[in-house]
Assembly symmetry: C2
């Protein structure tokens, strides 16, 4: 199916050709246009998405109508509203394309089948979940300990490509600062 | 060994007596006094800890010497500096007892052996890692979208017991607000 998915998984576990046929049979493929939604608030969350190309934004609208950004996801990243996906509840977040985006879709049922059917895949997803958990903890610490300048510098250091591709207003929202503050930082 | 650990694991996967003997053989047991450190900054992180009783605080000292709190952990919770544990690097966080605390210790080597030796345990740890990832994402959203009052109310709703056991100064640090702000909120 997609050598990108195989290469991504094989950073963690080696798969035989036969195993990869089994793995890839659990995914479906979709193309989305710029600005299209993969997940909308209050809808069911059917899939976790593996990004083959493009750029996604996971966002949240608060009661005052203000838009906040939980995360961005580009090539080789997994994204969904994980709470709604794993607990099969309605989405509280939205997932939208910032660029034309090509994804592989994995339903929760197929995720569970993959884990049960091939321990290597359970091991792979455990490694990804641990990395995700660690990255989230680092971001929590950055909210507690860093000011806007430091958070911007961290983002620049970790994901230089992202800053080229994402409008400044959205970067400001991700960092939890105003557009004006960000302009001062990035000028 | 400890029925609490077994009961905790069996919320997710059922174990036979024989399997539980295998599982519990991977843990060692330790008692810590109030204020003792399980992890200190810049030291190696040998273990992830399962809390049988007591209360732990995972903290971070910034360059100005200010102490920030990443999380609390009480009975039935797992805690460690996950980045340092999984990547076998030096601790950036510290883990300290707020009460006399009784823990089970799991080395990374034994974590990996447990996962490889019994797929049920890999499945268990995947479920825990997914929950941890989800909880972290919810906390990130709370930093972006909620003010101090709302964050305090969320904490009160989710972990009422915690507020009885943790000094107000530490709750303030966890919420990222001043002690004075917290006094207004909780009075």
């Amino acid at each position: 199916m997609h050598e990108k998915l195989r290469a991504h998984i094989e950073k963690i576990v080696h798969l035989t050709d036969e195993e990869y046929v089994f793995v890839s049979s659990h995914f479906t493929e979709r193309h989305y246009k710029k600005r299209e939604f993969l997940i909308q608030k209050d809808e069911n969350v059917k899939y976790a998405y593996f990004v083959l190309s493009g750029l996604l934004m996971l966002g949240y609208n608060d009661e005052a109508g203000k838009h906040h950004i939980a995360s961005f996801a580009m090539e080789d990243w997994w994204e969904t509203d994980f709470l709604a996906y794993h607990t099969q509840t309605k989405a509280t977040l939205s997932l939208q394309c910032l660029e034309p985006t090509h994804v592989l879709c994995l339903s929760l049922e197929n995720y569970q089948r993959l884990c049960a059917g091939l321990q290597k895949m359970e091991h792979f997803f455990l490694a990804k979940a641990n990395s995700g958990h660690i990255a989230s903890q680092q971001r929590i610490l950055s909210f507690l300990t860093s000011n806007a300048t430091e958070r911007y510098d961290q983002l620049l250091r970790r994901y230089p490509a992202l800053l080229q591709r994402v409008p400044k207003t959205l970067i400001a929202s991700y960092l939890g600062v105003s557009r004006e503050t960000l302009s001062r930082l990035s000028s």
